[in-house]
Symmetry: C2
Subunit: 274 residues, 2 copies
């Protein structure tokens, strides 16, 4: 045993040299999800809801020209959560947004520059709050997912480009909703971001069913039809009206207002009950 254990903690810290360690960096990558209205062909049909994800075109090496999740380095004096908030603010000019840590990705070769671990966060944004002050290089992509027992295919489209990713799903420990993903096909996404997206989609699909995170993507008042559409587009399946209304019954309350003008019976407006 060296004499080090006999010195005081403050002496020990004085001698400690952080620069002597292998260089490693920490980043956060953000999955910013939102829901927006599509087009209506018919004046009386409701606009279709689109599930969307914010991507950024890389303007520097590595992966120059490819799309990736907004992200950046964690600075020395901020927590990882603070870094995520700062980066979201920088990319979208938004603050006070729902955010949760998703997973930390740390394969040694996930970034060609150096050893970089990345803590992924998921943010949920009401599109109405997106005041057009997006970063130039950022763009919203509509998301379409198709899932089977052992596959997950994701198609992303921003109106100009269409990106597609295919992943293999493996059930972990014989359990519902606990999967490991592997990328089978990915042309257009940088780093391991296809994986991050898959994990995020998995998380939101599960969590929307037993928490009230969905309201973070809704404006302050909404109809139950709109809310149901949001669930349907995220879960990628139709829901039955009475069952859906029972499910969300005690998380919403009527505002007393109605939305008219749709060529059909007016719908009551609701807000999230806290």
């Amino acid at each position: 045993m060296s004499r080090r254990q006999f010195e005081s903690e403050s002496e020990f810290l004085r001698r400690y040299d952080p620069k002597s360690f292998d260089p490693l960096s920490l980043t956060t990558d953000l999955l910013v999800f939102s829901v927006s209205d599509g087009e209506t062909e018919n004046y009386r049909k409701l606009p279709e809801k689109k599930f969307s994800l914010l991507l950024v075109k890389r303007s520097s090496h590595p992966f120059f020209g490819k799309w990736c999740l907004p992200g950046g380095f964690v600075e020395l004096r901020e927590s990882i959560d603070e870094a995520a908030v700062r980066i979201l603010k920088h990319e979208t000019n938004l603050s006070d947004i729902y955010m949760e840590q998703l997973y930390t990705f740390g394969s040694p070769d996930r970034d060609p520059r150096m050893r970089i671990a990345s803590v992924a966060y998921m943010a949920l944004v009401d599109k109405d709050r997106l005041n057009d002050r997006l970063d130039d290089r950022a763009s919203w992509f509509h998301l379409k997912t198709r899932e089977s027992e052992d596959r997950m295919d994701v198609v992303m489209d921003n109106g100009e480009e269409s990106l597609s990713v295919r992943l293999k799903k493996t059930l972990c420990h014989h359990t519902v909703n606990s999967y490991k993903f592997e990328v089978i096909e990915n042309e257009s996404l940088a780093f391991d971001h296809a994986l991050v997206i898959a994990e995020g989609l998995n998380r939101i699909k599960n969590k929307i069913q037993y928490t009230d995170i969905a309201f973070n993507m809704m404006p302050s008042s909404f109809t139950l039809g709109e809310l149901q559409q949001v669930f349907e587009v995220i879960l990628a399946k139709k829901l039955l009206d009475p069952a859906f209304r029972r499910m969300i019954a005690d998380t919403v309350e009527k505002t007393g207002e109605f939305r008219t003008g749709g060529g059909h019976r007016p719908s009551a407006l609701y807000r999230h009950k806290k």
Copy 2:
């Protein structure tokens, strides 16, 4: 714009200097949970199950002499998962153990030496596989938790020392099972490990109810009474027999063997059905 965007990716990478960044390290901390038998006062009573957690006494600065989770630095050429596996092997001599990533902790001041982020993992071990080859400084602590709406108290006892931690629970976003924890009282645990333990307990309490992770803490054959005790000690509440048996019915199968000698009706032995 600099001319950098016109150089090739390989030229860019050649010029890239990892040493120019602020020094930061990455560690993993392991929550190693297990279940073991307590004592029996009465020959015909079943031994009480104890939920237990592996802690290590710190033999160097910082937090010299305090207890902490087993952990260590992530090395440059291994993934974070690989680091967790390596550290578990080093502390317990066990491999091929169930492990899942829990959460990444990264407050700038969580370690007094330097900026260190830590990725916490949860490992579940069948105590019968623990072949006494524990690290000298490591010790199993029996865990007792008491939870109320806004509090979580944890008492850990290894027969010689008793550590106690009190935390405040805050419900996140009006949702069941999604909490933020803050440490109110903690004398004996190093770093922010009281927080890590709270997050881990929360995770296992939830996940045991909708996955089959519990079997990772069971020996290859067991009685349903033992299995039920494991659920009861982790959830910290009594369960009704018929409901419990219905719940786990399709995750187990009979081995055909029976356990006799208990002063009561023999119990059928089961195994985990995959």
